[in-house]
Amino acid sequence: MLELPDEPALIPYFVAGYPSVESTPDAIEAFGEGGADVVEVGLPFSEPIADGPTIQNAITRALQNGMTPDVYFDKIGEADVDIPLVCMTYYNLIMKRGVDKFVRDCKSVGIEGIIVPDLPVDESDALYEACEEHGVSLVFIVAPTTTDDRLERIMERVSGFVYVQARLGTTGARDDVSGATYDVLRRVEGYDVPKAVGFGVSKGEHAREIVRGGADAVVAGSVFVEGMEDGIEEIGQKARELKQGALEGGQEAPKSDESNV
């Protein structure tokens, strides 16, 4: 099962197979060296309805490059890192492979958590059971629009961390932190699971604000995918910036015990 560190964590995301199939393990390693605490590795699906333009384009390119589930597991297996990995993909790929097999394959290459943006808790029975059985965390997203009763149900099943969607819309780097972020964080703060905030995070400053606002981790994707064309060093540097911001935010934040009242 997935565990986040005690200090504010950075969870970078990128698309396996982009910019190339070969670069996939390197990218994971570069993130590790850049201070990432967990790496979310996107398995590309042809209809990425929850993703913004940057990630959509990366997905299209990754598919053209020949990225498939088999190749995905192979390449991830090649990566030499200690930090836990999370698989982000759409449900059809999981269903097609067979839910149980998919989870086992994840486990076998060091993937300890799964996020499926088009699988709300209501449809998650099969995947939840397989994850439980194989000891893989199932991460759910909580959105600004999530109602109280939905939140309750999500929290019953979530493990590893809860993915707090910082704003309505799709993935994509933004220039500011949405006010909605703090509202959602406040609503989940009573639950005993780490909170990771994503959707729009692109700067150290964002990371700092978000962690100061009560998050345990920040997720950033588009900003890394954008940098990917420029080479692996770039993403290491961006990772350091974000991790640094998160750490600073952690020092400025009220103690979680206090905020947990």
Binding site: I49, Y90, P120, D122, P144, T145, Q165
Partner: protein
């Protein structure tokens, strides 16, 4: 907790951000579909604005050719030229009742976008339609129609820049603006409650068929034949008859140029026939996909059938054996298009031309009395037909026939 299932198909596979809106929609839909005020208002719009009931026509020449009695349910006479308005009016009116301020929709060839733009204009709502950039190039007149009716038409440049991508993009808009925006899905696809709701809005077709059939022939037809893209005209025509086991229901998909698929594309749109279980655009259903679960690009001469999925309820009805799946290929459809035009002076859309083709092929094995759901008119397809039929018809231009 999973809802809206048809024998395991269906459900709600959408981002969490949208789920509350879908729950809200489901509530509203259940409320209003039992609300006489709403239903009367919708009926009045369908009648006065849409032109319902549509005609029910015994096609004498076609019947003679087929060797059995063939009736056409004339939804091509509906305002806008296709059955799509039944659903668009219903959803836009519902959205208005729900207090939404903005309508969004995806469109492929432009038929559903046009219907949604119409309904939005008629009900005075803002409307934005997403359309693949490639489709916009190919369908300039429909783009112009939508804009004339005050809709914003936004090109989608991602992916293959066609319908699939327009749907993805509309989902994204919805996920962003879900609070004041309603997404009018154009067929019996997408997450629950859309498949059931769109079916209900379209099922006026079948109710009219029943009534008109009893009046014209004193009995129900032996077979009802409809084309299936997403399947909204299909379910609209069939739903009323599900329990009338003596009425055969034939869903005809686009066989395209071939039923053989490769790893990236299907040269057809025959998901009921050759698709398998998967999740696409919010619902579990039969889809065209490769071994890994990537969605195949579908193909059909008729833009309205060119879709990789199909309505979940239809998928279930096929598994149960209640609905018989069939295909007609591009050539058969084009041939049927010509035959109906010449026999009856009714130029069908290429979509229902597939249903006509099926009847031409199957003949009296469909029974003594067959109804074809003629869900759209062919004006939009004249370019395609001119290219396909080509010189034979064209040669005379400007020099006598």
């Amino acid at each position: 907790m999973s809802k809206g299932k048809f024998e395991g198909y269906g459900g709600q596979y959408v981002p969490e951000a949208i789920m509350p809106a879908i729950d809200e929609l489901e509530e509203a839909y259940e409320e209003y579909l039992n609300d006489d005020g709403f239903l009367n208002e919708l009926d009045a719009k369908l009648r006065d604005y849409g032109g319902r009931p549509t005609a029910f026509y015994h096609a004498p020449q076609l019947s003679e050719r087929v060797g059995t009695k063939v009736y056409l349910k004339r939804d091509e006479l509906l305002h806008g030229g296709a059955h799509k308005l039944n659903n668009a009016l219903g959803q836009v009116l519902l959205a208005k009742k729900m207090g939404k301020e903005r309508i969004i929709a995806e469109t492929g060839a432009g038929q559903h976008g046009t219907a949604t733009a119409m309904a939005s204009a008629a009900l005075n709502m803002d409307c934005e339609v997403y359309m693949g950039a490639k489709d916009m190039e190919r369908q300039r007149p429909n783009v112009f129609r939508m804009r004339l009716m005050g809709a914003t038409v936004t090109p989608v440049e991602t992916g293959s820049a066609t319908l699939k991508d327009a749907i993805n993009e509309t989902m994204r808009d919805w996920a962003t603006n879900v609070e004041d925006t309603h997404y009018v899905i154009g067929s019996v696809v997408g997450p629950h409650p859309f498949p059931a709701m769109v079916r209900d809005f379209q099922s006026v077709i079948g109710r009219e068929i029943r009534e008109q059939s009893m009046e014209a022939e004193g009995r129900l037809p032996d077979s009802i034949v409809a084309c299936a893209g997403g399947g909204s005209n299909t379910m609209g025509a069939f739903y009323e008859f599900i329990d009338d086991e003596e009425v055969e229901l034939h869903a005809v998909e686009a066989g395209g140029s071939s039923l053989e698929t490769d790893d990236e594309r299907a040269p057809n749109s025959a998901s009921l026939n050759i698709g398998d279980d998967g999740v696409l655009h919010g619902a579990r259903t039969k889809i065209l996909q490769n071994d890994e679960g990537q969605i195949l690009e579908s193909h059909s001469l008729s833009a309205g059938l060119d879709y990789s999925g199909v309505g979940p309820e239809l998928a279930a009805l096929v598994d149960e054996g209640r609905v018989k799946p069939a295909t007609a290929d591009d050539d058969e459809a084009m041939n049927a298009f010509q035959i109906l035009s010449e026999d009856e002076g009714i130029i069908p859309a290429l979509e229902p031309s597939h249903a006509v083709a099926h009847v031409l092929r199957e003949g009296d094995s469909l029974g003594d009395y067959v109804v074809i759901n003629l869900c759209g008119r062919g004006d939009k397809d004249l370019e395609t037909a001119m290219e396909s039929i080509g010189m034979d018809m064209d040669v005379g231009f400007g020099e006598g026939a």
